[in-house]
Amino acid sequence: MNVAVNVDAREDIPVWLAYGTPVFTVLAALAVSAVALVVLDVNPVAAYATMFVETLFTEFGLTETLTKAVPLILTGLAVYLPLKAGLFNIGAEGQLVAGALAGTWIGLNLSLPGLALVPLMFVAAAVAGGIWAGIPAYMRAKWDVNEIITSLLLTFVALEIQSYLLRGPMQGGTGNFPQSERFSEAATIPELVSGVHAGLLVAVCMVVVTYVLMTRTRLGFEITFVGSNDEAARQAGMSKFYVYLLVFVVGGAFAAMGGISEIAGAQGRYRAGFEPGYGFTAIPIALLGRNSAFKVLLAGLFFAVLFVGGSSMEVAFGVPAALVEIIQALVILFLITAEFFKSYRVGIDIDRGPTEAPAQPQGGDD
């Protein structure tokens, strides 16, 4: 008896598979993560109920989710845009921190009316984030230095500088905590609706801008073209250098806006460790939403639910919110697994025929 596994490329993807994949990956990730909860003696059903019910069906949960979604969507775009050009920006965290520091400095040191100060803080943040992202982009575009490693290493540099500034020149407030002075009224982002600051509007606008850029402009076409076939793009006269630099710098500016939104909208002051790794969550967000900027928005909202739910779960059951990180990673790992089954048909042939092929001698060639 012979058993053979056949793997053939599918010619077209069935509809149920195309739409079922995201649902399947999320459910599979939650199911596997439940094992981690069981190990710590927590009932996973109760934990997930807290995680989702409290987040989606309470006013507090919803406002928190929308607030958390702002930096997540913006950093998601920061990874999404370079991904379209075939680059990996895994340093959105550093760009977020660099931008937040620059914006905070402006917010604390300039006295202007709020209508001028808040936009200026966003501009300062965007410039700093753009420069921070521009370094790995320039090195990649000019010398072909791997942008994955450099953008990530610059995150560690940004975090050290953050720690230096908040313990030194920018330290403020009572006590000796690594934090800045509180923002004045003018430097605080106003509320959009009760409990949700206007940073949400910025995030949604940037999603629309990115969507229009990618689908309606020549530049967006060039980005996609460079991302899918850079050699053909070069022969068509497109500048890889310019595209690489642009997607990273704009991406860095997006991440930075996410950072300053969180500081000046939700936190009220810069605290060291103010955020639980939005720039890293941005990677699964961008991968999940890589087909369209609007899908990045949806993925950002979904991960915001996870973040808020993770904190509720931490409070209610005393389990570390790091479960959210496990879920995030598993979602993408299952997604790439599912992609294989989407593009290949796997069949098992069982041949019960009496004739058994003689074993081929190893290494024998015909």
Partner: protein
């Protein structure tokens, strides 16, 4: 000053071992054509697994073994996704780093307060007791932990394996031209699996050395980017074990400088010329947090230098790196 340099060298050796172990694993994996960006996650899993095992059993060698094993478990996932399912190696690797970070923060938060009897300092067997008296370098190089000696020994093994054994040469062939290797009767899948698993084992060992010998404690996220520095180190080393040694010690020195910098003052006396200008600059550059950026900045600079200096056609990158392999079937 002499004691400062001796202490610095001592810390350099221990820090270099982390990078040497992780870097060797990455080198083997990449030589077979599979980029592993999950090193950081595999190191963390190895560090925590080794630490917990040592707390529970009291045996740091058992802990070291468990660390290696857990690194290999995570590597098996990477191998399955990248080799069998032909997934994108970058995505799989980055997600495994995220997974390793999440898992170790989740399960490791209760172990932060624990203390262990980690690897003790010992003189190198046979010759160590005579050489340890050499001024300045004696203590650093001939009184270390067993894992430091192990890493240097393994470097020789890896060098011999890759460049002088049949299996190693086949592995390199698989990373350069999988079609050709397949035609010659070499199993591309089997060798790539083997390389990725060995790589994961080395990453787990690097993590276990970090928690059991280097710092002898567990803190979530304690690898602090060393896994990524190891990936950069492979490029710096041009995929050759010998240059790996130089790179690991170079970066180990920077890591050590940050830890030891508080005990030394480089500021000029108040009467020296230019003291008013130089001293604030020196003080700024010696701030612990600013010194903390040096290993990362140096990695970026060295990486850029290595890539710029060698024209891309001379770059020793394995030709089939990042390419999945499927056999043409009729």
């Amino acid at each position: 000053m002499v004691s400062f340099i001796a202490g610095l060298l001592d810390a350099t050796v221990q820090a270099a071992t982390v990078l040497l172990l992780a870097g060797m694993g990455e080198l083997i994996s990449e030589r077979a054509g599979v980029l592993n960006l999950g090193v950081e996650g595999m190191m963390l899993v190895g560090a925590l697994g080794g630490f917990i095992t040592t707390v529970l059993t009291g045996s740091h060698w058992l802990g070291f073994g468990v660390g290696i094993l857990l690194g290999m478990v995570l590597a098996l996932v990477h191998a399955f996704l990248c080799i069998t399912l032909k997934s994108n190696q970058v995505i799989s690797g980055v997600m495994l780093t995220l997974l390793g970070t999440g898992l170790t923060t989740f399960f490791g938060s209760g172990w932060v307060e624990e203390s262990i009897d980690g690897f003790p300092q010992m003189t190198l067997p046979l010759v160590g007791q005579y050489l340890v008296d050499i001024p300045v370098i004696g203590e650093a190089f001939f009184r270390s932990t067993a894992t430091d000696y192990l890493a240097l020994g393994l470097l020789l093994v890896v060098w011999y394996f890759l460049h002088h054994s049949n299996l190693g040469l086949e592995m390199i062939a698989v990373g350069e031209d999988p079609e050709m290797a397949d035609t010659m009767g070499v199993s591309v899948f089997r060798l790539r699996y083997l390389a990725v698993l060995i790589g994961g084992g080395f990453a787990g060992a690097a993590g276990a050395h970090l928690s059991l010998a280097f710092s002898q404690l567990w803190v979530p996220g304690m690898t602090a980017g060393r896994g990524w520095i190891a990936v950069a180190l492979v490029i710096f080393a041009q995929w050759r074990p010998r240059r790996m040694l130089i790179g690991a010690y170079l970066f180990g020195l920077l890591d050590a400088l940050r830890i030891r910098s508080q005990s030394i003052s480089l500021t000029l006396g108040p009467d020296a010329p230019l003291a008013g200008v130089v001293n604030p600059v020196v003080e700024f550059l010696m701030t612990p947090q600013i010194m903390g950026t040096y290993p990362y900045l140096a990695t970026i600079l060295v990486l850029a230098y290595a890539v710029i200096r060698t024209k891309s056609d001379q770059l020793a990158v394995p030709s089939a790196l990042l390419q999945s392999y499927s056999r043409e079937t009729d």
